[in-house]
Amino acid sequence: MKTSELIAALSADPVPAPISLGRRVALALVIGLACSVALYWLLLGPRPDIAAAAGTMRFWLKFVDSAAFALPTALLTLRLARPDAKPRALMLWLLAPLLLLAAGVIVELIATPQSAWMSRLMGATALHCTITIPMLAAPSLAALIVALRAGAPLYPGLTGAMAGAAAAGVGALVYASSCPGDSPLFVATWYPLATLICVSVGALAGRRFLAW
C-alpha cells in the first residue's frame, strides 16, 4: 500500500475522537477507590480503637502521606501517557511525601527510647500490611491500565510503574484507618515495601498492555 493510499483511508475516517485522557484517568481512580472502599468494608473494617487513635498525630500522618503520594503519582501517570510528555517538574513533587515521612521518622526517633525502636518498626501486622495494601490497590491499578490504553506513552513500563504507585497511594489511603501500626517507623518500612510490589506489577502490566 502506498502512503498516499493510506492517507486516503485515514482521512476518510474522520470519526471525531472525543476521548479525554484526563477524564478517563480520573474515572479510573474513582472506580478504583470505590472498589477499594467496598473491599475495605467487606474484609477489613476500621480498627477497634479508632476513636482513641484519631486523637494522635501519628494516625493522621498516614493519611496525609498517602494522599501526598497518590496525588503527584496520579498526575505524573496522566502526563506520561502523552507522547510529548515533559514530566520533570512534576517529578519534584514526589519528594513531598518522602520528606513528610522522613520528618515523621525523625520525630519518632527523638520521642521514643532506643529500646522501643525495633518493636515499633515491626508492629504487630507487618506482613498483613504488606499484603493488604497491594490487594486494595489492585482495582485502581487495573482501572488505570484500562484507561491508559487510550494513551500513547513513550515509556510504557515507566507509565505502568507510575500507575502502580498511584494505585498504591489509593490503597494505602483506604487501608490507613484499618491498620493498627501508627508509628512512622512502621509506616516508613512496610508501606514502601507494599508500594514496591504495586510498582513492579504496574511496570510489568505497562510493558505488556500499554505499548502501541
Binding site: L6, A8, P14, P16, P18, R82, G151, A211, W212
Partner: protein
C-alpha cells in the same frame, strides 16, 4: 489545521497528513542513513507514524504546539522500525523543524508491510480499506457497492484501521 481535522474537516485533515508524511519521511531517511540501514523500510516507518497519529489524535493537547507531538510519535516509530532491523545503536535525531522545511517525496517503488498486514484483516474490513485507499472510492460509493449504510462503513473502516495498528505492533514484537 489539526483542530479543523478533529472537528471533522476531511480536506484539511488529508492535507495535514500529507504534510506530516513528507516531514516524517525526511526525518526517517536521515535516521535510517545515519544508522546505515538503507531506505527500504523508510516508508513503513512513515505509514506507521501516520496510523499512530490518526489513532492517537486525542493524546494531543490543543493548547500545545503540534510539531513536538508529531515528532515524538515519529521518533518512537522510527526507533521501532530500526530496532526491528536489528540496529541497536540509534543516534539521536536532529531538530524536527529542519525536516518540516525539507520535505521529500515518496519513493513510488517502495513496497510496504501494510499490504501484507491487510491480509490479516477480516474480509469485509479488508474490502472496505482497499476500496477506499487503493481504489480511491468514497465512503458513499463503498457503502452503495456493499449495500451497507454509510455509518456502518465508517465504523468498519475505523475498526479496520485500529486492527491494522494492532497487527503492526504485533509484527514489531
Amino acid at each position: 489545521m489539526m483542530k479543523a481535522s478533529i472537528a471533522g474537516d476531511e480536506g484539511a485533515y488529508r492535507r495535514l497528513l500529507e504534510d506530516i508524511s513528507r516531514s516524517v519521511r525526511a526525518m526517517a531517511r536521515g535516521a535510517f542513513a545515519r544508522a546505515g540501514a538503507g531506505d527500504a523500510d523508510v516508508e513503513d516507518a512513515v505509514q506507521e507514524t501516520l496510523l499512530a497519529v490518526h489513532l492517537k489524535r486525542h493524546t494531543w493537547d490543543p493548547e500545545q504546539p503540534l510539531a513536538p507531538w508529531v515528532y515524538a510519535i515519529a521518533r518512537h516509530k522510527v526507533v521501532d522500525a530500526l530496532r526491528r532491523r536489528g540496529r541497536r545503536r540509534i543516534e539521536p535525531l536532529e531538530n524536527f523543524e529542519e525536516f518540516l522545511a525539507a520535505p521529500e517525496s515518496e519513493d513510488p517503488h517502495a513496497l510496504s508491510d501494510a499490504r501484507k498486514l491487510l491480509e490479516t484483516l477480516a474480509p469485509r474490513q479488508r474490502d472496505i480499506v482497499t476500496s477506499i485507499s487503493l481504489d480511491g472510492q468514497s465512503i458513499a460509493e463503498t457503502a452503495k457497492r456493499l449495500s451497507m449504510s454509510e455509518v456502518a462503513v465508517r465504523v468498519a473502516l475505523h475498526r479496520a484501521l485500529k486492527s491494522l495498528g494492532a497487527a503492526w505492533r504485533k509484527s514489531v514484537e
